[in-house]
């Protein structure tokens, strides 16, 4: 399929810039997102680093307080068994480090001093367990800020022994500062950790252990204050997979079956996103991360990014996990991008429209040229008309086209004139269907139609019903030999038959495929009819000559016979009268004479009967064209004339119709012509010609037949029967001829030729008008 230049231009101009915009858009889409996600990742890492730093910073004072207390105890700044002093020391420590939950000291004998924050009835509470062997005494003292006791009670039911506690046992065993795993404090039910420092005597024994409780709720608060995008969350997971710090502290606690609290594991915490992001950690034996782990994931249709920081330190085997919705970082960009897409689409449409207009503008001269070419080809525009503003290339094409069209039109006009003005009928027929494509007026007049009527018709419409094979025959013949010539009987519009001579040729295209048939048509009806009339005349004459010779002879000879019969009867009558004059009547003689008269009349009656019998098959006199008849009879003797080298010339005036029995007149003419030809055939003359002339004279047409033969012997009466100049003649021909002519009211005679030869004349009455 050929594409339109306009379409191609429009497609290129609009389509290419659309493609360009799309590429730029998608490139910025991909790159900007990547940049943003990297940014998010570093942001998350920063949060992790911050959190680590903050956590360390948060826990460092507790460690310092514990080590300070241990060194004091070690260096005997206070007597370690001086519990009042120790209590005071711990009290001071607690007061200066308000984020510590409590400080305590337990020794080898099971003594225990514990200072902690309290609420009622005073802000501080001390618990002091004094042991003496198996005896023990436990006292609880509430103090205000000035260390004044507010309340004192003994607690004899207390069974607490520091030497059994995990922190004591670990510090005693490891002889260095230990950090416990985070746990939920029994008293405050807040999460926290304990830092324990052994107090070692000079001889290297462990005298006791100083401990510091520190609540790590602070870490959760810190996490909740962190700004990680809009909706980012950081949480701290310890090596057991427990979440020990979360922006929502309430989520940290889980209840054991015995009613005590523990931390919620990362796999069970009621933070679905955290579960999805970090649930894998719970399946590890120990959550120890070497390097930072960054991930992107989806949860409930939203995209997230997450980072897990490496474990903080061996003392604090914690991991910081951070996650945040992607939208927090790239949401604006996505929005912006959507806007950009709209803008791009709009720009695309706008430039597309501009492109279309541009294409249209560029294409306009081309289109105008195409339209002009079409109009020129339909003849609605003169090819010589000036070309509108256009491109140079089209200008050249136009010149070539115009010349071609002019040439074609000239050819068409010449062909059209040949077609239209032809003296023959001409038709152009579809080779496939037989429909008439073009006809000229001559053909229309032959068929009795209007040209317009014919153009709606098919060849088959004109064929005589008894012979419909014309078209197939023409097609077959033209396909085979290129042309065809046939005679065909067709039917005119008025229903009359018409004989056509059809000469057809097949027109083919460049590939040899048959296109249509061009045929010339001649109306040969008249010729055919004349031919038929001649044939009929010949038949009739033969018939006459054969079958009705006797009757014709009787008719022709009636007059000739009646003459002598009349003479006989008159003579018989005269003889009878003469006999009557005699004195003696001879009755026998009288009877003989009467019989003679009687028999003569009987003979006449027989002739009459014979003549009327012969007349039975005869035509009546009718008016007819003598010139046409003469023309037809010429055909009958032409062969004979040619054989004997005789030429026949005809000179007829403008003749009126005559009255007579046509076939008999024909016989007379043929007889005269044959006589002339035979007379000359026997002579030595080189000038052998017969001349027929006819003219109108006083109500008759006079026909003369002249020959250049030897003429007629003056002593011969050719019109009497049995008188002949021919060696084998019967002497009846001219006699019969004259009878025929005279029976028709005309006359027939012979004259000497001028200058030589013979001339036979006869007349036929003109038919009444």
């Amino acid at each position: 399929m050929k594409t339109s230049l306009g379409l191609v231009l429009a497609f290129c101009l609009a389509g290419l810039q659309f493609v360009a915009i799309t590429i730029i858009m998608s490139s910025s889409y991909v790159t900007s997102e990547r940049v943003l996600l990297n940014h998010a990742r570093s942001l998350l890492r920063d949060v992790g680093v911050n959190t680590i730093a903050h956590s360390k910073g948060f826990l460092e004072p507790a460690k310092g307080a514990a080590e300070l207390a241990a060194r004091i105890a070690e260096n005997r700044i206070i007597a370690s068994d001086n519990r009042e002093l120790l209590e005071q020391l711990l009290f001071q420590q607690l007061q200066t480090a308000p984020h510590l939950a409590g400080l305590f000291y337990g020794d080898q004998r099971g003594n225990f001093v514990y200072v902690k924050h309290s609420e009622e009835p005073a802000p501080f509470r001390s618990k002091i367990i004094s042991r003496d062997g198996e005896d023990r005494e436990t006292e609880l003292i509430w103090r205000d800020h000035t260390y004044e006791p507010v309340s004192r009670i003994a607690d004899p039911a207390d069974t607490f022994d520091p030497r059994n506690r995990p922190w004591y046992l670990r510090a005693q065993t490891e002889r260095t500062t230990v950090w416990t795993d985070p746990y939920i404090f029994f008293s405050s039910q807040n999460p926290g950790i304990t830092i324990a420092v052994p107090v070692i005597s000079d001889d290297g024994d462990v005298q006791g252990v100083v401990g510091v409780d520190i609540e790590i709720s602070e870490l959760s608060e810190f996490l909740s204050e962190l700004k990680i995008g809009e909706n980012g969350t950081a949480l701290i997971v310890n090596q057991n997979g427990d979440v020990i710090a979360h922006p929502k502290p309430s989520l940290l606690r889980a209840v054991n079956t015995d009613g005590t609290f523990r931390f919620a594991g990362i796999g069970e915490i009621e933070d679905q996103i955290a579960q999805a992001a970090f649930g894998d950690l719970s399946r590890m034996d120990q959550v120890l991360i070497d390097t930072e782990r960054y991930a992107e994931f989806s949860h409930r249709g939203a995209d997230y990014v997450s980072t897990i920081m490496p474990t903080m330190s061996t003392e604090l085997p914690w991991t910081i996990a951070v996650y945040a919705p992607e939208a927090d970082f790239i949401g604006a960009i996505v929005q912006n991008r959507t806007r950009n897409i709209w803008i791009a689409a709009l720009v695309s449409v706008l430039t597309g429209v501009v492109g279309l207009f541009l294409a249209n503008y560029i294409n306009r001269p081309v289109r105008a040229f195409a339209v002009r070419a079409a109009l020129i080809s339909q003849g609605e525009v003169d090819p010589a008309a000036p070309m509108p503003r256009t491109y140079k290339e089209l200008e050249r094409a136009n010149t070539a086209l115009t010349e071609e069209i002019m040439q074609r039109k000239t050819t068409e006009r010449e062909y059209g004139q040949t077609f239209e003005l032809s003296s023959r009928g001409m038709v152009q027929i579809s080779a496939e269907t037989g429909a008439l494509i073009r006809v000229n007026s001559k053909f229309a007049s032959i068929m009795g139609y209007e040209v317009e009527e014919l153009l709606e018709r098919n060849v088959a419409d004109f064929l005589a019903p008894e012979d419909p094979a014309l078209f197939d025959q023409i097609v077959d013949e033209t396909l085979e030999s290129g042309d065809a010539s046939i005679e065909q009987k067709c039917v005119r519009k008025d229903g009359q038959s018409v004989w056509l001579r059809v000469n057809a040729i097949m027109i083919r295209d460049n590939h040899g495929k048959p296109l249509h048939i061009v045929a010339t048509i001649n109306d040969i009806t008249k010729t055919r009819n004349t031919q038929k009339q001649i044939e009929k005349l010949n038949r009739d004459l033969s018939h006459l000559a054969r079958g009705e010779l006797l009757g014709q002879m009787a008719a022709g000879l009636a007059h000739e016979l009646n003459q002598p019969l009349t003479a006989i009867t008159q003579n018989a009558d005269a003889a009878l009268m003469t006999a009557g004059e005699n004195k003696v009547q001879n009755e026998e003689l009288n009877q003989i004479l009467r019989d003679l008269d009687q028999q003569a009349h009987r003979a006449a009656d027989i002739i009459k009967a014979l003549r009327s019998f012969a007349r039975k098959g005869e035509e009546w006199k009718t008016p007819f064209d003598l010139d046409a008849l003469i023309d037809q009879t010429l055909h009958l003797v032409q062969a004979e004339a040619t054989e004997h080298g005789v030429s026949i010339a005809v000179a007829l005036d403008d003749l009126p119709r005559v009255l007579g029995i046509r076939i008999q007149i024909a016989q007379v003419i043929v007889n005269l012509l044959r006589n002339a030809i035979e007379a000359m055939a026997e002579s030595d003359s080189t000038d052998r010609s017969v001349r027929i002339t006819a003219s109108v004279e006083k109500g008759f047409v006079k026909v003369s037949v002249d020959d250049t033969g030897p003429g007629v012997d003056p002593g011969l009466d050719l019109f009497s029967q049995f008188e002949t100049s021919k060696a084998d003649g019967m002497g009846l021909g001219l006699s019969i001829c004259r009878s025929i002519i005279e029976a028709g009211g005309g006359r027939m005679w012979h004259e000497a030729g001028d200058p030589s030869g013979a001339r036979f004349c006869f007349t036929v009455p003109v038919a009444d008008k």
């Binding site: 009349t566 003479a567 009867t569 009211g745």
Partner: protein
């Protein structure tokens, strides 16, 4: 040609017909004359002939009908009996229309022919009488002087104005002279009255 007696003129190109008919008719007492062609008859024809013509229809040269036509046109009408060997109906009709007595087909009964001849001769005789009267009138008119002839012509051409005065005025002569001429005219014309004179003058005109 004898013109005293009624003559039967036979015109036929057949010698045998002519001779046999002559015999047959002569035996019956007819005066017969024969001609072998129409032209021969015309050549021999003289005014004042009386009798009838037995005319063959089909002849070489001028045929019977043509001869009849010629005679009728020229006022030389003798009664004609046609005889023909063809018996064509149209020709017989044409002949009868032109005044033929009959159209007999050859061969005919002599009695029939004779009967037709007698019929024809009667017609001829009547015509002959009229003719004689006309001839006599003409002969008498020829004896008149020029002036007398003038007067007769005036009377004949305008019979209602025949007084002497009127004639005198027309000829610019005296009425007495006219009276004198009239007396001479009546005498010369052997007429008893002016009516008789007019009758004679008209009869004479038929000759021409």
């Amino acid at each position: 040609m004898t013109d005293n007696k009624e003559t039967v003129f036979i015109v036929d190109d057949d010698e045998d017909i002519r001779s046999s008919l002559t015999r047959s008719l002569s035996k019956r007492g007819f005066v017969v004359e024969t001609f072998d062609s129409a032209q021969a008859f015309l050549d021999a024809y003289e005014p004042g002939l009386s009798g009838c013509i037995i005319l063959d229809y089909g002849m070489i040269g001028m045929n019977g009908l043509e001869l009849q036509q010629k005679l009728v046109t020229e006022g030389r009408a003798l009664p004609i009996v046609f005889i023909t060997g063809h018996g064509g109906v149209p020709e017989s009709v044409q002949a009868m229309k032109a005044g033929a007595v009959d159209f007999l087909e050859k061969p005919f009964r002599t009695d029939t022919l004779v009967e037709r001849i007698r019929q024809a001769l009667k017609i001829s005789a009547a015509t002959s009488e009229t003719r004689k009267k006309a001839l006599r009138a003409k002969m008498m008119l020829d004896t008149l002087t020029t002036r007398e002839r003038e007067i007769v012509d005036m009377i004949v051409s305008n019979p209602s104005n025949t007084t002497s005065k009127e004639i005198a005025r027309a000829l610019q002569i005296s009425p007495r002279t006219v009276d004198h001429h009239r007396a001479r005219i009546l005498e010369k014309m052997q007429a008893n009255s002016m009516v008789e004179l007019i009758d004679l003058a008209i009869a004479s005109q038929r000759l021409s």
